[in-house]
């Protein structure tokens, strides 16, 4: 089954002649035995053939665009700052020391300050030594940040940087869906035991995560979704790998909070709740 999936994924590369000879041979053997992949090949080939009918018009807009470019405010304001020399190139990575980029220095100082502050305030729970320990995925780091934030709030300590890093805005599900660059599951159709209490969009550095707060028998379950290609993260934690509802996922316990995270095809899911991991898995089975 896994082989079938892997072969299916490579069909476009096969059509485009981008597979090496071994992979090509393996795929061709699989195609002979698999009707589903044959149908996939036909469909994808037909799709590619249709793209040949797109034509590339010769646009003659250079003068108009150039005039617009020259008229742009930030262009005229910045002429004095146009780089005078290519010493950035000669210095390679040392060009970060470029005095013309003071914002880099400021950003570095802020990052150092945050790291030092977090190191002083937060003790990451140590996981027992275990061969299953995996480097954390971006979504899990996000979950830990959130778990630590909730724990700190509950215990009356000053919350860590979560709010500052992920500014949130309560919104409707429809609005959140419109802003997201990825597909949300049909969560508003909640099973009876659940209710959707709140939806937030969380701004990351270059994308939006969606936070859905569900309530199940007065237990709160917070589900985050974010596109995989723009994960929001900081920190370098290690955590346990586990299986949940037939998926590989990552688990960490922070105070009373359990955080689980897993990858779907294009979306990362992160779930945070006060439930135990197995209870949470059961709830998610009903929910998703």
């Amino acid at each position: 089954m896994l082989n079938h999936y892997l072969h299916k994924q490579k069909i476009s590369a096969y059509i485009d002649g981008e597979l090496n000879p071994d992979a090509t041979k393996a795929l061709e053997e699989h195609l002979q035995a698999c009707n589903s992949c044959q149908a996939e090949l036909t469909a994808i080939r037909a799709g590619k053939a249709l793209t040949t009918h797109f034509e590339k018009p010769e646009w003659q807009a250079s003068e108009k665009l150039w005039a617009r470019l020259q008229g742009a405010q930030s262009w005229t304001n910045s002429k004095a700052n146009f780089p005078q020399a290519s010493w950035d190139l000669k210095l390679g990575w040392l060009s970060i020391l470029n005095p013309r980029a003071p914002w880099l220095w400021a950003a570095a100082l802020v990052v150092l300050f945050l790291i030092a502050r977090n190191m002083m305030q937060i003790q990451i729970p140590r996981q027992p030594e275990n061969d299953n320990r995996m480097p954390i995925q971006a979504a899990s780091a996000f979950a830990i940040d959130f778990g630590l934030y909730l724990d700190a709030l509950k215990n009356g300590r000053e919350p860590v940087e979560f709010e500052r890093q992920y500014g949130g805005k309560v919104t409707t599900y429809e609005r959140a869906k419109a802003r997201a660059s990825f597909d949300l599951p049909t969560l508003p159709k909640m099973p009876e035991a659940f209710e959707l209490s709140e939806v937030q969009t969380l701004g990351g550095s270059c994308c939006f995560s969606i936070q859905l707060n569900c309530v199940n028998d007065s237990e709160r379950i917070i589900i985050f979704q974010q596109p995989k290609e723009h994960p929001a993260t900081f920190g370098s934690y290690k955590l346990m790998k586990m299986e949940m509802n037939g998926r590989n996922c990552f688990k960490i316990k922070v105070g009373r909070w359990t955080a689980l995270s897993w990858d779907d095809e294009d979306i990362q899911y992160v779930v945070v709740s006060e439930l135990e991991a197995d209870e949470l898995a059961q709830a998610l089975r009903e929910l998703m």
Partner: protein, 202 residues
């Protein structure tokens, strides 16, 4: 991919831009703005939006070229900036675009579609041809942006999987998987409109 002479020429041009040579920047603009415009029209589906994106892309190039280190190809960087800006704009116009048929590349003031002036086409054929291009572009706009991006880079811009992976920051497996989905989606959308390979036989 560029040959050695092309790479040398590009590097000389970039170095001149980095030293503040305004004429070199104009040359850089002349050489690359069509690429940016083409990609932006295909991704935004709207010529006005694409013009705005192109302007923004070159403003960004203008401001940041001093820090470009020539470790990667300039074209790769340019495509990446264009895709990022198109993604931002698409988020903003996502709702609007659902209800509004995208403008076509032939309808914008100031743009001349070279194919419109082809003498060999009869008026009927020309109308059919223009309508077809509109339908194709509208179908493209119905495909998810992340699939459409890969489809455009591969099938319309002719880039390799490696180049696309560098531009989008995905691995080649993801590029291939999204291309599968994009091609299938295009076929399905056009099939709804009765357009398949038989449509082009006559």
């Amino acid at each position: 991919m560029k040959d050695n002479a092309g790479i040398t020429h590009e590097r000389e041009l970039l170095a001149a831009c980095q030293s503040g040579d305004g004429y070199a920047f104009r040359k850089l603009f002349d050489e690359f703005h069509q690429k940016v415009l083409h990609l932006a029209v295909r991704l935004c589906g709207d010529v006005q939006e694409a013009e705005d994106v192109t302007q923004e892309v070159f403003l960004r190039v203008y401001h940041e070229i001093g820090h470009f280190q020539m470790k990667s190809e300039f074209g790769t960087w340019l495509y990446r900036v264009t895709i990022n800006l198109c993604t931002d704009r698409n988020r903003k116009i996502k709702r609007r675009a659902k209800y509004k048929a995208p403008q076509t590349v032939t309808s914008s003031e100031g743009f001349i579609d070279g194919n419109n002036t082809t003498d060999s086409k009869t008026p009927d054929k020309e109308v059919w041809h223009n309508e077809l291009q509109e339908i194709l572009q509208a179908a493209l706009m119905r495909i998810k942006l992340k699939w459409r991006t890969i489809l455009v880079l591969k099938d319309l811009e002719g880039l390799s999987y490696t180049e696309i992976a560098q531009i989008t920051g995905c691995n080649e497996g993801t590029v291939c998987s999204r291309l599968n989905r994009g091609r299938k989606a295009l076929r399905a959308i056009l099939a709804e409109l009765g357009i398949d390979k038989n449509y082009f036989r006559d």
